[in-house]
C-alpha cells in the first residue's frame, strides 16, 4: 500500500507555525519524522518566527515587512518548503512580498506546500503505513480547502475529492466519520476568535455537536489553530473527545 514514485532525495525546509512550535511541538515532531520516513532531507531553519498572518488579517499587512524579510532569509534555497498548516502556507503563498528581493519572494511562494498537499502531489504517496484504530472525525479547515484546494467544497458543483481523506483511508483500523455540514468553518478565524468571541464559540460548538453525534474519539485536521479552538471548548465542557493533527495520525507506526 505504501508506494513511492519519486526515489530522489528532496531537500525540504520545514516551516512550523509559531503557535505550533510553542504549544504543539508533538505536531512538528510528527511532521519532521514523517517527511524523513519518506526520504526527505529535512531542515528546520532555527531563526524562523511567524509568517505574519495575525497582523495581515487584522488589517496591518503593511507592518508585516519584517516578518517577510525574516521568512525569506530563513527559507531561500530550499527546493520545497513544507508546513503542517494550510492557513500559514496560504498566507505565504498569497502575501509574501519583498521590494528588495522580489525574485526570492516569488520563488518561495511557488515552493511552499501544505503537508498533505506535499505528500499527495510531490511525494505522490498513494497511502501511508500507519495504524490508528479509533473513531475519527475530520475537521476540514477553510484555508486549506477553499484556497489551497486540498479538497472539494460543498458550495461548488465539482467532483468530490479530499487529499486528507484519501490518506486517512489508508491508515489501519481508522474509522472516519463525516459531519452533516461537512465543511462549515469552526469559527477560529485568527483574532476573530477573541474580537467576535460569542459567534466564534457558537460556531465551534456546532462543529463539536456534529462530531459528538457521530460518537468519535478524535477530531483531526490539517490546521492546529482550528483544533486548538475546538480543544479549548472540549476541555472547558469536559467532553471526552481529543484533537490530533493529521501528521500525528499519519506518523503512528
Amino acid at each position: 500500500m505504501e508506494k513511492r514514485c519519486k526515489p530522489v532525495i528532496m531537500k525540504v525546509g520545514l516551516f512550523i507555525p509559531c503557535y505550533v512550535d510553542q504549544f504543539y511541538p508533538q505536531v512538528a515532531v510528527a511532521t519532521l519524522e514523517l517527511l524523513e520516513r519518506y526520504g526527505c532531507e529535512v531542515h528546520y531553519p532555527l531563526k524562523q518566527t511567524c509568517c505574519g498572518q495575525p497582523m495581515a488579517n487584522s488589517g496591518f499587512a503593511s507592518m508585516a515587512g519584517g516578518c517577510d524579510k525574516n521568512f525569506i532569509a530563513n527559507f531561500s534555497g530550499y527546493e520545497y518548503i513544507v508546513c503542517p498548516s494550510g492557513s500559514c502556507a496560504l498566507h505565504i503563498k498569497e502575501h509574501l512580498h519583498s521590494a528588495e528581493e522580489p525574485n526570492a519572494a516569488a520563488t518561495i511562494r511557488e515552493r511552499i506546500y501544505e503537508l498533505t498537499e506535499f505528500i499527495t502531489d510531490v511525494l505522490k504517496l498513494e497511502g501511508v503505513k500507519a495504524s490508528f484504530p479509533h473513531k475519527v472525525g475530520l475537521h476540514v479547515s477553510c484555508h486549506g480547502q477553499r484556497m489551497l484546494h486540498l479538497s472539494s467544497m460543498s458550495e461548488k458543483v465539482e467532483k468530490p475529492f479530499s487529499k486528507a481523506e484519501a490518506l486517512l483511508s489508508t491508515v489501519d483500523g481508522l474509522e472516519l466519520f463525516r459531519t452533516s455540514r461537512a465543511d462549515e468553518c469552526c469559527g477560529f478565524g485568527g483574532t476573530f476568535c477573541v474580537t467576535e468571541e460569542a459567534v466564534s464559540v457558537s460556531m465551534g460548538n456546532t462543529r463539536i455537536k456534529e462530531h459528538l453525534a457521530n460518537g468519535v474519539h478524535y477530531i483531526t485536521g490539517g490546521d492546529m489553530s482550528c483544533l486548538m479552538h475546538l480543544e479549548g471548548l472540549l476541555k472547558r465542557q469536559k467532553i471526552d473527545i481529543k484533537v490530533i493533527h493529521l501528521a500525528e495520525i499519519l506518523n503512528t507506526q
Binding site: N57, C142, E155, V157, G189, C193
Partner: protein, 459 residues
Amino acid sequence: MSQPATHHNKAAAAFLKNGQRAQWHDETLWFVRAKRDKAAHQIPEWEALRNLGSQIKEHTLSNLDEYLLQFEANAKKNGIKVHWANNAAEHNQIVYEILLHHNAVNVVKSKSMLTEECGLNHYLAERKISVVDTDLGEYIVQLRNEPPSHIVLPAIHLKKEDVSNTFHKHLHTEKNNQDPVYLTRAARQVLRKKFITADAAITGVNFAVAETGGIVVCTNEGNADLGVHANKVHIACMGFEKIIPRAQDLSVFLRLLARSATGQPITTYSSHFHRPKAGQEMHIVLVNNGRTEQLGREAFRNSLKCIRCAACFNTCPVYRRSGGHSYHNSVAGPIGSILAPNLDMRKNADLPFASTLCGSCTNVCPVKINIHEQLWSWRQVLMAEGYGGSAKKASMKLMTGVLSKPAVYRLSTGMARFFMRYLPFLVNNRLNPWYKQRDMPSAPKESFKDWYKKNRNHE
C-alpha cells in the same frame, strides 16, 4: 461625520443570548443554503454558468457609462420617463416630486433594497405620504417598524408567534393564532385593498436591459405586478449596477438568481416591464449613490457584480449566528460588509472584521465576487485610514517588532511564552475573551525549537 454604529460583535453577542432562537435562525438559513445546493447540483454546467454570469457583469461594469446611456435612450423611446439621481437625497426628492405632481398620498411598494438604502419610506412619511410594503416579509417588518434583516427573506429573523403577535396588534387577528394560512390571508385582505386604493406603485428592479430599455422584476408573490397594473403611476428605482447588456443575458441571470436565492429553478413571477400601459405613466430612477466611487476602487469594483441573491448570507456562519440587524446596513451579510464601507467607512469599519475569512461566500456567489478577499482588503484600507484605534496599532507594532527579529523573539519565548503575552487570542490573562468559554492550550515542557536543537541540529 457619522458615528460608529453598535459594533457587530456586541449586537451578535446580544443575538446569541437567546441560544435556542439563535440556533433556530442558524438552522433555518442553513436549510435555505442546502436547498440552493440541491438546485445548483441539478445543473451540470453550474460552474460554467457562474463564469458566464461573472464575465457578463465584468464586461458591463467596464462599459457601464455606455450601457446606462443606451438603456436611457431605449427606455425613452418606449415612452418611459428616465431620471438620474447622484445620491440618496436626490433619489428621494425625485420620487417625491413625481408623487406630488400626481397628488399621490398612498403608495404601494414592492421589494426594493435600493429604497431601503436611500431611506425612502421615512423620507416620504415625513412628507405625509404613506408607503405600504407589499412583499409579505417586508410588510411584517414594516408593521414592526424594523428594517429587513435579509435582502431576500426580510422577516427571516421572526418566528410564527412573532408574526401572530404583530398581526394581532396591527390587523386585529385572533390572539395566538399562529396558523400561517390564517395569517397570510389576513395580510392579503389588507394588502388587496391597498393595491386598489393606492395612487401610485413603486417597484425595485432586478435587471435593466440596455438593448430593450425594459426592466425585469422578480417576485414570488406577484405583488409588483398587482401594484403596477392597479395604478396609473409606476416608479421603478434602480442602482446603476442593475444594468445588463442584452435580453438574452437574462437566460443566464434568471437561472442563477432564484437557484442561488431560495433553491427555486425560477421565481414565481419574472415580470417584464417595457413601456407604460395606455393612460399610465412609467418612471425609472437611475441611482448612483456611491456606485461610481466603488467602481473607481480597483480592489472593490467587482462587488458591483452583485445580483442580490443573498446566497452569501445563507452560507455565512457568522450571519446565521448574528442576524441581519447586527450589520447595521441595509444590505447585511458578507456582501453588505464589502459594500457598506464604501458608503461610510467610520460607521461600517467593524463589518469587514465580522468574518473568519472562510471563503464560503466567494464560492457560493453566482457571479463569482471574491468577497472574502475584499473583506481582507477592506481591513487593510480601514486600518491604514486609522479606523482601528491607536491601541490596536501599537500592540500590532509591538508584535511585529518582536516577530521580525529572531534574536528578540528567542528571548521572548522559552518559559515566558511570547504568545501568552502578545498573540491576541492566547494572552494568558483571565480577561482574555478566549478564556471566557474556552480553556487555554497547556504549555508543553519544551518548544519544538528546543527539541530540534537537542535531537536534530545540523548547524
